[in-house]
Amino acid sequence: MIFHIGSLLLVIALVVSFFGTVVGYWGGRTRSANLAASSFHAVYAVAGLVLAAAVILWYGLLADQFQLAYVWNHSERALPLFYKFSALWGGQAGSLLFWTLLLSGYSVAVALTFRTRQAALMPFVNATLLITSFFFLVLLVFSVHPFEQYEFRPADGQGLNPLLQNYWMVIHPIMLYMGWVGLTVPFAFAVASLLSKKLGNNWVRIVRRWTLIPWMFLSAGIIMGSQWAYMELGWGGYWAWDPVENASFLPWLTATAFLHSIIIQERRGMLKVWNMVLVWLTYVLVILGTFTTRSGILESVHSFAQSDVGPYFLGFLILIIFSFIWLLFDRMPLLRSESAMDSVLSREAAFLANNWLFTGIAFAVLWGTFFPMFSEIITGQRISVAAPWFNKVTGPLFLLLFVMMGIGPLLGWRRTSANKLREQFTWPLLLSLLFALVYWLLVSKQFYPMMGLTACLFVTATIVQEFLRGVLARRAATGENPFTATWQLMRRNGQRYGGYIVHLGIVLIGAAVIGNQFYVQTTNVTLAQGESADLAGYRFTYNGLSAEHQDNRVEYRAYVSIFADDGARLLRTVSPQRNVYDKNPDMPTSEVGIYVLPSEDLYVVLNGWSENSATFSIFVNPLTLWLWVGGVLIVLGTLIALWPHPRRKTVPAPAGVPVRA
């Protein structure tokens, strides 16, 4: 019975979210405080109802209520408790419910934050967030049915997809969803400011912050997804340009473009229409991404769940695309630029170039993701667009983007004169040229890795120079010691210096990608017990195999000792592992054995075994550690940029404030 109540809760939430949407838009239009207050209540009520529904589904999962179709399909008795909990987002219906839950969470956070502020915007914001909730509730009530029940209660469930039984796969979707769902908030503010015609600098500041938060989660989610692919899929890579990965990457690209161009609007009052377009594009790409992953329209190894949600998504996409374009055109006269560009050699121009590249890359990725579908429709032949295409098309663009990332920060606002240009660029350029020369002479003569690593060094040099000059300037002005000066710099100008830290993270990721793209060494070997294989100066010796039964799986673990210096020095014994799940024996998962060095990862995959020998794929992946370090730096830098500015020095309170109210 409790599950009947679960579906009833969703129906009530559906009605309330629809009511809240109407009341919000209407209240914003008529400036009625009553209607606005009702829209706030609707936000809280929907959140409460969806949370209650999610709790009921969690109860079903944790208490092994296999009469629920969802629980039967995605859980089993022997599943560890942790994964029973995470099975909520392991399947179609549950993950849509989870999406809705997170969206309600964000909506409540926004509503509480702006409970007494932005009175003109908030009814519209509530309404836009609620209409998104409404859409997902329509899916939950009419299409995917998380609380569908059988007439009887099966003894045990089917088990969770083995690939999802991994720590990273528990955290990664949360992060990704937090990012995706959160990007609804800037869109809601954009719609609200257009509808209320309050298009001043006000919404820009709010939106920057509320984009940075989901952007941080999205970045972390993408990195964690790569980590999962790297550790679990066992093919030596971390990114496959898979449609689902692309779906998470696309909004990241446009959101990143937006985070840059919004700065120009904040500072100079330019690019107002373009920024609106970027916010909207990001939102559309989020919905499109959910659509492609949930509808299975594009075949993909990740599309675990497929069902008939397609037409709903298509309808909603058409609605948000056309209604927003209409709204934007209607408000166009209010979005005129307030100032003009002074020079091509200015940070404004650099930001423009950055936006051009980001949207160009986003278009290419979108095009490549959907091209197989177009091609199949037109030519009837199925082709694949995979890593070779993506690398060839986006590779040069990323290289250019990295160069811009070095140039941009060195340009001042408005105009940079020739002598200042020279002053700024001499050192980084000299250093980069020197590096390129040495690299060309001593390491390799391949063009792309050389250019790529040179660009990475160039950006790093400019960032270091920026910090140095900033600290020196601050010292000159305040006489603080270098540490305090650095600290104060980041604290008082977090937007800029936090941004540089993020850039540094991106550079590290870039270097790791280049290393993995061009300098991987690999071998496939079958080793008898005690036998060794040599690769890249390391010796890998197979010591034996063990099998151990865990809750719902058997873990086969091979022991491989890694030696350096031609077998003279033991570095570590790693244990690549295969898990064979009781419920899915034909889907063994892999846990790779890794020894991480700053210069390279030694990565061993167990492919198969017989009585006294085993087959391994061994990879030496250069610089991979820095991919994860870069991810950490991105989160850190974003936090610095997000951290509230220290309060301005307060003036002693006057006896009475002469405001007549």
Binding site: W235, W241, S384, A547
Partner: protein
């Protein structure tokens, strides 16, 4: 424990076939090492799963493809001819990128065209934005002399504005 042994046996069979077992007809290809096969497989893509490279794929169909590569390598074929063999066998899917002909050429052209078009647009827009600007700010004599009071207040506010 019994169960474990049973499972162990079961998966042994599975994996022996998957990874070690050279199919019977591949006897003559046994001189070809797995590394040589993967050298070729790295340039091919699994025709069944999208976005998975052949050397990293564990499907049986892909293992058979790898065996075929081994046979062809033993017969003295080079990488290009093996690739074109698989294209005729499975279609252009195995290449991992659209062929550069017919409709599929669009996959290559459009991103470049959009990028160039976008660049041109940004450039012309940027130029028109720059033309708007007046040559020089109004000379200071024309400007009304700012009252000291306001200037002082501005300095105060600036000092507070950190």
């Amino acid at each position: 424990m019994n169960r474990v042994i049973h499972l162990l046996r079961l998966t042994l069979l599975l994996f022996v076939f998957l990874a070690l077992g050279q199919p019977l007809y591949a006897q003559d290809a046994s001189t070809v090492t797995a590394d040589q096969v993967n050298e070729v497989a790295r340039e091919l893509w699994c025709p069944l799963c999208s976005g998975v490279r052949l050397d990293g794929c564990e499907l049986k169909a892909c293992d058979q493809m790898k065996d075929e590569i081994a046979i062809k390598l033993a017969a003295g074929d080079d990488t290009e001819s093996i690739k074109s063999y698989f294209v005729t066998q499975y279609g252009p899917q195995v290449l991992g990128e659209p062929p550069r002909s017919g409709f599929n050429l669009l996959a290559w052209i459009l991103p470049v065209a959009v990028l160039l078009g976008g660049g041109l647009f940004v450039l012309t827009r940027g130029r028109s934005m720059m033309q708007d600007i007046r040559p020089a700010p109004v000379a200071s004599s024309e400007r009304p002399v700012p009252d000291d009071d306001y200037a002082r207040r501005l300095d105060e506010e600036l000092a507070r504005h950190d």
